[in-house]
C-alpha cells in the first residue's frame, strides 16, 4: 500500500513539472489536488503494528482481526513469533528505541519485571480491570498502576490417552507414585509412557509444579532456593520419569516438539500447560481423537498439590507507540469479554476474565474436564511457574542445566546437589546485578 501511494505521489509530481504548456492556474489546481490526496492518504493510513505469539490465542486473534479492521477501518499489521523470539525482538527494539510496535502479547512472569523497570509498558489507567481476579492482577500491576491486561491463565494438567488407559486397565494417577506406575505400564517401544518438556530452560516452568508438590520453591524472598532438598527431590523425580519413560531426545524438546508426538499417538501421558487441548485434537494434524484425550489434575506430590496457576500471557501497549489512541482501542477489543468467551468456549483456551468462566453457556461448550481442573487449580494453584525476576531468561538456562543433568542420569546424578548449589549462586548473582537480591 505504502509503495503504491509513493508512486502515485511521485507520478503526479512528475506530471506537474514536466508538461510545460499547462497554465499556472491548472498547475495550482493540480497541486491542491495533490495536497488533498496526500492528506487524504495520510488520514486513510490508520495502521498499527501488533506482535502476537505463536500461541492458540494469537491464532484466534488473527482469525478475528479482519472483522476488527472492517469495523474500524484501522489496518492491523500482525506479526507472529515464537515466544522466546518475541521477547528477544521486543527487548531489542525497545532497548534501542527503534520500535514501531504498538500492541504486543507479553509474558508477565517472563519479561514483566524487566519491561516495567525499563519503562517499556504504557500504563493502562483508563482500562476497566474489574472483570479480572485479584491473583491475576498481582502480576499486571506495578506500584499502583496496571501495565498489562491479563489474557490467558494457564495451569499445569496431565493430558492422557483414555483409550490406552482403558486397554491397560489403569485408573488416572492421583499421586506421583501412581504416575510413575502408570508410565511404566504404558511405556513400550512405540509409545513413550510419559512426556514433559526436557529442553533445559523450557522445562523450568513445567518442573515448577513438581517442585511445589515436593514442598520446594525456586525463589524465596528474592533468594534462589532451588538447591533445597525438596526442590532437588522433585528434579530427580522429573529426570527419572523422562529418562525412563520419555521420548527419545527429550532434552531438546519443548511443547512444540512433544505436541506432534502426542498427536501421532506416540505419547501416553503428557504434563504441560492447560492451553493445548484444542490443538492436540485438531483433526487436520492429529491422529488421536478428542474422545481419547483426557485432562486430569496434575498428580499430588509427597508434600502438597499446588500446580502452577499463572497469567501466562497478557497484552500491553508500547510506551514508544506513536498511535496510543489506536493501540488502546485495539487492546480493548483484543482483550474483550466477547473474544474471551469465544476463546474459552470455542477453543478451550483458559482465559483470565472472570465473566468467561461465569457464563454457563460458554463453560458448557468448553471441555468439562478442563473446567474441573480449572476450579481445582484456581483454588490451590501457585501464581508463579518460574523464578520471578528481571534476568529470568538467564536464570531459566541455569536451572535448565540442573534439569538436563537430572534427565541424563535418570535422576541419580551424584553431583546434582553441588550443581544446583552452584547454579543457585549464579542466579543470586543475577539478582544482585539487577538490584533484586533479597527484595520481595
Amino acid at each position: 500500500m505504502e509503495t503504491v501511494g509513493y508512486w502515485v505521489k511521485h507520478g503526479i509530481v512528475y506530471h506537474i513539472f514536466s508538461i510545460k504548456e499547462v497554465s499556472v492556474k491548472s498547475k495550482l489546481i493540480t497541486l491542491l489536488l495533490l495536497v488533498a490526496l496526500v492528506f487524504g492518504a495520510g488520514a486513510q493510513a490508520k495502521e498499527i503494528r501488533v506482535l502476537v505469539a505463536n500461541h492458540p490465542y494469537g491464532d484466534l486473534l488473527k482469525q478475528y482481526i479482519p472483522e476488527y479492521e472492517k469495523a474500524t477501518g484501522v489496518k492491523v499489521n500482525v506479526e507472529s513469533l515464537q515466544e522466546s523470539q518475541l521477547t528477544t525482538k521486543l527487548t531489542t527494539e525497545f532497548a534501542t528505541n527503534s520500535s514501531s510496535a504498538d500492541v504486543f502479547m507479553t509474558r508477565p512472569l517472563q519479561e514483566g519485571k524487566m519491561f516495567y523497570k525499563n519503562g517499556w509498558y504504557e500504563p493502562l489507567t483508563s482500562y476497566d480491570f474489574s472483570d479480572y481476579p485479584e491473583s491475576a492482577m498481582g502480576v499486571a500491576r506495578f506500584g499502583n498502576k496496571p501495565y498489562l491486561v491479563p489474557l490467558v491463565t494457564e495451569w499445569q494438567v496431565l493430558y492422557y490417552r483414555k483409550d490406552l488407559f482403558k486397554k491397560a486397565d489403569l485408573s488416572v494417577p492421583k499421586t506421583f507414585a501412581e504416575l510413575e506406575a502408570a508410565a511404566k505400564a504404558l511405556d513400550s517401544n512405540d509409545i513413550a509412557g510419559f512426556a514433559s518438556r526436557g529442553k533445559g530452560a523450557a522445562a523450568v516452568t513445567q518442573l515448577s509444579s513438581y517442585v511445589y508438590n515436593y514442598g520446594g520453591k525456586y525463589l524465596d524472598k528474592g533468594v534462589a532456593v532451588f538447591d533445597s532438598k525438596e526442590a532437588l527431590d522433585a528434579t530427580r523425580f522429573y529426570g527419572k520419569m523422562l529418562a525412563l519413560y520419555g521420548p527419545t531426545g527429550v532434552t531438546s524438546m519443548s511443547w512444540e516438539n512433544i505436541m506432534p508426538l502426542f498427536q501421532a499417538g506416540k505419547v501416553a501421558m503428557w504434563t504441560d500447560a492447560s492451553v493445548f487441548f484444542s490443538q492436540i485434537v485438531d483433526p487436520a494434524k492429529s491422529q488421536v481423537t478428542a474422545a481419547d484425550v483426557g485432562i486430569a489434575n496434575l498428580p499430588a506430590g509427597p508434600k502438597a498439590s499446588n500446580p502452577f496457576f499463572v497469567v501466562s500471557w497478557g497484552m500491553a501497549v508500547a510506551r514508544q507507540s506513536k498511535n496510543k489512541a489506536l493501540a488502546l482501542d485495539f487492546i480493548k477489543w483484543a482483550t474483550s469479554a466477547d473474544l474471551a468467551k469465544k476463546a474459552l468456549g470455542g477453543a478451550s483456551i483458559p482465559m483470565s476474565r472472570n465473566s468467561a468462566w461465569a457464563d454457563p453457556a460458554v463453560v458448557a461448550k468448553a471441555n468439562p474436564e478442563l473446567v474441573t481442573s480449572q476450579a481445582f487449580a484456581a483454588k490451590n494453584g501457585n501464581p508463579f511457574d518460574r523464578p520471578y525476576m528481571s534476568a529470568v531468561g538467564n536464570a531459566r538456562d541455569l536451572i535448565g542445566e540442573v534439569i538436563i543433568e537430572s534427565i541424563n542420569t535418570a535422576g541419580t546424578s551424584q553431583k546434582l546437589a553441588d550443581l544446583a548449589k552452584q547454579k543457585a549462586k549464579q542466579v543470586n548473582e543475577l539478582l544482585e546485578d539487577t538490584g533484586e537480591y533479597g527484595v520481595y
Binding site: 532497548a95 523497570k117 531426545g249 532434552t251 538436563i404 548473582e429 546485578d433 538490584g435
Partner: protein, 292 residues
C-alpha cells in the same frame, strides 16, 4: 603543481585509504569499544547505569564453568571437523588429480556445498537427524542398529554437527589441494618413474612433501573458520541440548542478544578475538615460512 601530480605523489596512500578507513571504522573501532565494555558492568535489561568495574566481569565469566566448557567444545568441534576434512579432502583431491571425462562436472558438484546457505543446510540436516522421522535413523535401522538421538543428545551433538561441517567443507580442502597439485612441477615425477618408484613411494616421497605448504594453509584457513562456526550450530541446535553444543561464538551471541549482559559478553568476545588472532598470526608466520 597540478592536482593530478598530487595524486600521483601520494598514490600509495590515497588509493588504499578509503578501504583502510572503512576497516578502521567498522573493525578496529568496534574491537576497542568491546575492550572498553569488558571492563564495565553494562547490562541492557537491568535499567542500571553503566559503571566501570575493573576486572569484575572477567572474574565472573572466567568463573563460569559454562565458559570453560564452551572453549573446550569450540576446540573439539574444530579438531574433529578439520582433521576429517583434511584426510577426506586430500583423498578426494588425489583421486581427481588426473584427466578424465566429467572432471569439470565433479568439480561443480564439489562446489555446491561451499556456496549453499549454511542456515538452510542446517535445516535440511535437521530433517535427516530427526530422531523419529529422520533419514539418518532409517539408515541405522536398515543395518539393524538402534535409533540414535544425533543432535538431540548431549553425547552425540558435537560429532553430529561436525559431520555437517565435514559435509560442507571437505570439498573446499579437496579443491584447494587439487589446484595445488595441478601447479606442481612434473620433473620429480618423471625421474621417479625412471627410477621405478611405486605409487606409495611417489605419494610419500614426492607428492606429500610438495603439497604440504598448500595443505597446511588450507587446514589453517579451515581451522580459523571452524572456530567461528555459528550459522549451522545456531540454526540446528541453538547451542542445545542444554549447553552441549554451545561454542564460544554461540555463547557470545546469547550473552549479547538474549541476556543483554553486554559487559560480560564483551569478555567472551575479547577471548574469542584473541583466539582467532593467535591462529591468524600462525597463518602469517606459516606463509612466511613457506614463502607463500
Amino acid at each position: 603543481m597540478t592536482k593530478s601530480s598530487f595524486i600521483e605523489r601520494h598514490f600509495k596512500i590515497l588509493f588504499p585509504l578509503p578501504a583502510v578507513l572503512f576497516i578502521v571504522v567498522m573493525m578496529l573501532f568496534p574491537v576497542i569499544y568491546t575492550l572498553f565494555l569488558s571492563f564495565t558492568n553494562w547490562n541492557l535489561t537491568s535499567g542500571m547505569p553503566l559503571k566501570l568495574v575493573g576486572l569484575k566481569s572477567y572474574i565472573r565469566v572466567l568463573g563460569e564453568p559454562r565458559f570453560l566448557e564452551a572453549i573446550g567444545r569450540t576446540f573439539s568441534f574444530t579438531a574433529i571437523a578439520v582433521v576429517a576434512e583434511t584426510v577426506l579432502g586430500l583423498a578426494v583431491a588425489l583421486l581427481l588429480n588426473r584427466e578424465f571425462k566429467g572432471k569439470s562436472a565433479m568439480k561443480l558438484i564439489l562446489l555446491l556445498p561451499l556456496v549453499a546457505t549454511p542456515v538452510a543446510i542446517g535445516i535440511v540436516w535437521n530433517l535427516f537427524f530427526d530422531p523419529t522421522i529422520g533419514l539418518a535413523n532409517y539408515v541405522l535401522s536398515i543395518f539393524g542398529l538402534p535409533r540414535a538421538a544425533w543432535v538431540s543428545s548431549a553425547q552425540s551433538v558435537i560429532p553430529s554437527l561436525a559431520l555437517v561441517d565435514i559435509w560442507q567443507w571437505t570439498p573446499m580442502i579437496a579443491l584447494i589441494v587439487l589446484a595445488g597439485l595441478a601447479s606442481l612441477s612434473q620433473e620429480p615425477y618423471e625421474s621417479a618413474k625412471v627410477d621405478g618408484a611405486n605409487a606409495v613411494q611417489i605419494f610419500t616421497k614426492i607428492t606429500l612433501p610438495m603439497i604440504t605448504p598448500t595443505l597446511l594453509t588450507a587446514m589453517i584457513l579451515r581451522t580459523v573458520d571452524a572456530l567461528k562456526t555459528y550459522d549451522i550450530i545456531y540454526a540446528m541446535t541453538g547451542g542445545g541440548p542444554g549447553y552441549s553444543s554451545e561454542t564460544l561464538n554461540v555463547m557470545a551471541y546469547k550473552y549479547s542478544f538474549e541476556y543483554f549482559r553486554m559487559g560480560q559478553s564483551s569478555v567472551i568476545l575479547v577471548f574469542l578475538f584473541l583466539l582467532v588472532l593467535a591462529f591468524s598470526l600462525a597463518i602469517m608466520a606459516l606463509r612466511k615460512r613457506f614463502e607463500l
